[in-house]
Amino acid sequence: MGKHLLFFIHGIGIHEPSWGEELNGPIETLKTVSQQYAYFQQAGQDRFANVECISVHYDEVFRDTIAKWQSDASSITAFDPTGVFKDGLGWLATASDNDFWWSHLADLAMYRCFPLYRQAVRISVIKQLADAIERAYKADESAYCSVVAHSMGTAVAHDCLHLLGTSHWADGPYANVLAPSHWRFQNIFMVANTSRLLQTQDAEMKPAYDSIVKPGPLEDPKSYCFAYWNFRHEADPVPFPRRFEPIGWTNYQNEVVRHCYEYNVHNLSHYLLHPRVHIPILNKVVAHLAVSDQEKIKAVDAFPQFGGDVEFIQKAKDMAAQLHTLTGEMADDLSSLDWIKKLLKFHQIMETAR
């Protein structure tokens, strides 16, 4: 059997090309948490040998663009013979990843408000998916692929999968054999799902509930995966407005978690700590029943809401209470501007708790 390809698609923030494999990153976290289950404890057995984790990376589109803006603007401010533009372009000339706005919110703004960069991100991701799929086919005449996407990455994943399966790609009279009537993804795991919140009116796109990114029967041209998993944290304000709650989908599972093991409850690795999140991934991607039902019940039952040292737990409880208040204030139809304000507030609560 060929390897099961597991694509990790990141959210906002700074991400290097190998972001998935980084220390405390999602791949390491998944491997670490798996060690608590019997199947993964057998000595000399690499249970992930049949899984190829692929870190999909699109942050460079934003970083290159911002770097270009910064470089163009600073060349103007540095050599402006009149001094007129020094103030006007200063904000752009000093753009830096050290600033939360440029490292995080700018990604969101550029994806949501700039079709140019949105499409550039999409094609970059689609190419990475296609390259890996082609590699799998060359090796084994088959490709088993699943996706783990996080935060804004869920919207990116949604858009890219829809385009991958519905566009006519070949520069000639060739059919798209990666369309759902010919091939489909195995599982889609959406963590802190924003695909409905960030859906666009682009001509080739469809709203999150109407697109092909949903589970469905084989060869169905309107669905593109066998199973869809949606994970949401109760205190995470990111996936709160325009929450992803489809009706009537088969092979769809929604899991709500409320644990607090680090200050950033929105972090993908933090989500993966919860057995309700990592067990479906392990069972669907690594091996069927790698974690037995009994082990799952035990693991969920033995997983306290707060973890860490006493000092952290006390702070985390206060922070969780504030985050619950914050999410309680968020309406489902929150405007984009209000949502960004809430995200800034979320950032502020986290930083204060630290």
């Binding site: 402006d80 689609i126 190419k127 005449e141 088959s142 991958l164 010919h182 169905d220 091996a287």
Partner: protein, 357 residues
Amino acid sequence: MKRSWWCVQVLGFWALMATPVLAFDLGDCPTQPFDTRAYEQLQGRFADQLTSNRYADIFLALQHDAENSTLWSHDERAYTSLLQALATLIERFANFDQALANVDDKQAFEKFLTNYPTGLFQCGNRTYFSGLPIQVTFDELEALKGDRAEDRAKDFLFRAQTVDRLLNQMKKSSREATIQGIRNAAMRWQLFLKEGRSQYPWEAFINGLDPTIRPENIKFPPSRQWIVLHPELAVELSTHSFKDIRAKQSLLVDVVGHTFYWWSNRDDPSQGLSYAGITAVASFRDDMRPGIGVMAHYGRYVNGGVVWRDSTNSGHMFNQSPFFVIGIDLFRFAEYKYPAYKKQYEQWTDKVQDFLK
């Protein structure tokens, strides 16, 4: 001692019960490549049919093989589902235009793939024919009972997987064309963003608002763009005489303009992206009042134009000789080449003067 031995027996029993006798997983390949049912073996057995694209014949033969299998009692659900799926496939392939395939196999495949799905044998989450009435789960296969239950389960998986791999083999050229199309699209975007005319955030935003420019087709970046309030460094050259050129740095603002893009070959973006455009500009210097003019650009480095200034405060901007203005990159290039050109120019004028004398 007796008690502990009893405990070991009980634990052993439960351990055996907990582990299914058969445990298949997604894509398991339970038999060997030398098995006559193996995909690898079929390459030799059906070499002629594969060469002449007679997939319908291959699937018909595979259906006969399955029907003649002695492993199954012919009313078992997994078995009947497999036969039904093969029958569905054969029914679809009855519409494959073999006559066209003999002349143009690519066109025949594309016609078929456009009209008929081919994902029927893709295994998804331990299920074949997922979501269809003939769906067969691995749990069902693991629960098969009677003689040679394991062989039957493996037989099902093996035949289904072989058909899937054959279908994937059939789609190879289409898949390669699809992936090449994606790579070409990615390269177009990469070239556009890296080599195209740079846009400040407000320009990218404005271009995104124009429905005639918005990149609605993911395969192609925009073919034109607005230039709006785009500052850039430039150099103004006095136009009195070539021999006595005076250069002065200025700040140009492309107030409004347009850029047009074209590909040397749309289907092969590696052959290059070119662009050209024109903008109305305002020019600022620290020693003179602002000027206005027009600037043309071609590609990234070639840009030049003229700017008029009211250098004598007469109130008549266009009565005076305009300044040539060139982009800073072009100026740096010219500056590097200028001594050589100046020498050539002087040698040439000396020769002309000598000749005239």
